[in-house]
């Protein structure tokens, strides 16, 4: 009898595994509102959650959300801990060498500086940026001193407590913060970086075509633009 139950439960487990064959694990950072963040219920939320769920529905894939620290998000994709990165990641040549990107789902957007005062020294001062971002690369190549942080929130905290003169990040991330905090303001000129935001998959993953087709469909029927306006505000760049 015991064996019967054991066999039955083993069968049930293997049947479950067979049904779960097509689970796509969607890797995101969960710390970059409004792109992706952990909401008050402890779930992944944000523009990319809404987009990813819609893409999976259109491509008829079962998706599961996983969070991972930003600075190890690419190695964990290539070593197979999850199957996609959908985390506000700009398409760049360096990243193209190790992963495959879908077509962009957000047009190239401006990166902005945010500081405590208008006369912050952007050219030669201390600028905070998140590790391994295109913004960090840009600052490192400029004359300013770069300090890097693991999370976006820490880059903003560094400006608030005076450790950095300014923070350099995606405008869509900084604008809501600058709007709500009277002390912080956007300074300097916007900078255009990267080739738009896309989803990354392991090189040679055949699901790339399905996601690309779903993104194309969403661009054509206007649902992608609607989603961008919903999460990034009426002034966001659309397709």
């Amino acid at each position: 009898m015991k064996y019967l139950i054991l066999t039955a439960s083993l069968l049930a487990i293997s049947a479950g595994a067979a049904a779960a064959q097509d689970v796509v694990r969607m890797g995101t950072e969960g710390a970059y509102p409004p792109y992706n963040f952990i909401n008050d219920n402890g779930e992944v939320d944000g523009f990319e959650r809404a987009l990813g769920d819609e893409l999976c529905a259109r491509a008829e894939l079962t998706c599961e959300w996983v969070t991972n620290d930003w600075d190890s998000i690419i190695p964990n994709l290539t070593s197979g801990n999850y199957d996609t990165i959908i985390a506000g990641m700009s398409i760049t040549e360096e990243r193209e060498e190790v992963v495959d990107f879908t077509q962009p789902y957000i047009p190239p957007a401006s990166s902005l500086f945010m500081a405590l005062s208008e006369d912050a020294d952007l050219a030669g001062g201390v600028i905070a940026a998140q590790t391994n971002t295109i913004q960090a690369g840009y600052i490192a190549a400029s004359g300013a001193t770069l300090i890097e942080f693991a999370t976006p929130d820490e880059t903003v905290a560094a400006v608030r407590n005076g450790e950095a003169d300014a923070v350099f990040a995606d405008g869509d991330y900084l604008l809501p913060i600058a709007d709500e905090d009277a002390d912080l303001m956007i300074v300097g000129e916007p900078v255009q970086l990267g080739g738009g935001v896309g989803m990354a998959l392991r090189e040679g993953d055949e699901r790339l075509a399905a996601f690309n087709a779903a993104i194309t469909a969403m661009k054509e029927d206007g649902t992608l633009n609607a989603l961008i306006l919903e999460w990034f505000g009426p002034e966001a760049a659309t397709w």
Binding site: D40, N41, S79, E180
Partner: protein
């Protein structure tokens, strides 16, 4: 949680905090304390077992066994914890995948190491790529527990080895004189008496183990440090409960938690020492005997 929580922006301060501290993310934060307790509950006995094995091996009269025991304690104790945690977990994970790869995909021709990538065949991936999220989390936790056990096992091994040598030699000689074998002397005389000598060292290791639990965060496990940082970060009104940077308060909470936890541990270990001192030929045992007489 409460019915009035549907629109937090209209609430007064007390109710706002009532809702805030009971929302879904905070529930996950409270659950993560269980992760810490689970880690301690599993790691403490396992590392004690590792340590016991290492100490017993170090005393062995078979040279390779003695070398293995001594090498283990010396090597692990000599490597900084944080290096060991970051290095060993990765190596263990890759070793498991490599072993499974050799067994299940003998015909695989692609190189496994490609630059920074470690690519084994899909069947060998541990846990399987399509396994549910909890399996991935449990696997990560198991790797972490095993690593903690190895590290703290080495420290326990050293303490137990010293404790075994501290048991008065005449006790063992008397047992031998009664005709006990080496095995009998070890299990019936040495082991029961060594604990009181080991306890100060072991309680020290327990304290260090408690303090080492935040290292879980480094291993990518969503422990209390992860959630304290996550929840304490400043929130815009994209969230239901916007607030400024509150990491100070969250980490202060963790500080209080760890202080209380170590204090309770101290009290319990103090009582245990008293109990184990009964009838022992130590200063504490002598004091207990005099107090009773």
């Amino acid at each position: 949680m409460f019915e009035y929580c549907t629109d937090p922006s209209t609430l007064d301060t007390a109710r706002w905090f009532g809702c805030y501290l009971t929302n879904g993310a905070h529930m996950l934060f409270y659950q993560s304390f269980l992760v810490v307790f689970a880690l301690l509950a599993v790691t403490a006995p396992v590392s004690l077992a590792f340590g016991f094995a290492a100490a017993a091996a170090s005393r062995s009269h078979v040279p390779p066994l003695a070398w293995a025991g001594k090498l283990y304690t010396a090597m692990v104790r000599g490597v900084p914890d944080i290096v060991f945690f970051l290095f060993f977990v990765l190596v263990l994970d890759q070793a498991i995948e490599y072993a499974r790869h050799r067994i299940s995909c003998p015909d695989w021709t692609d190189p496994i190491r490609q630059g920074a990538n470690f690519l084994v065949c899909p069947e060998a991936r541990t846990p399987a790529g399509n396994a549910p999220q909890w399996v991935h989390e449990a696997y990560g936790f198991a790797l972490a527990v095993f690593t903690y056990a190895i590290v703290f096992g080495a420290f326990c091994g050293n303490v137990l080895f010293g404790a075994m040598r501290a048991v008065p030699r005449p006790q063992l000689e008397t047992a031998e004189a009664y005709g006990m074998s080496r095995r009998q002397v070890f299990w019936r005389v040495l082991v029961p008496q060594m604990w009181i000598y080991a306890l100060p060292g072991l309680s020290n290791i327990w304290m260090i183990l408690i303090k080492a639990t935040p290292l879980l965060f480094l291993l990518g496990i969503e422990d209390i440090v992860y959630w304290a940082r996550e929840l304490g970060g400043s929130r815009t009104s994209a969230y239901q409960y916007p607030h400024p940077d509150w990491r100070f308060w969250y980490f202060l909470g963790l500080l209080v938690f760890y202080l209380c936890f170590t204090r309770v541990s101290e009290i319990v270990l103090g009582r245990l020492t008293r109990r184990l001192s009964h009838g022992q030929a130590t200063a504490a045992g002598e004091e207990l005997r005099k107090a009773a007489a």
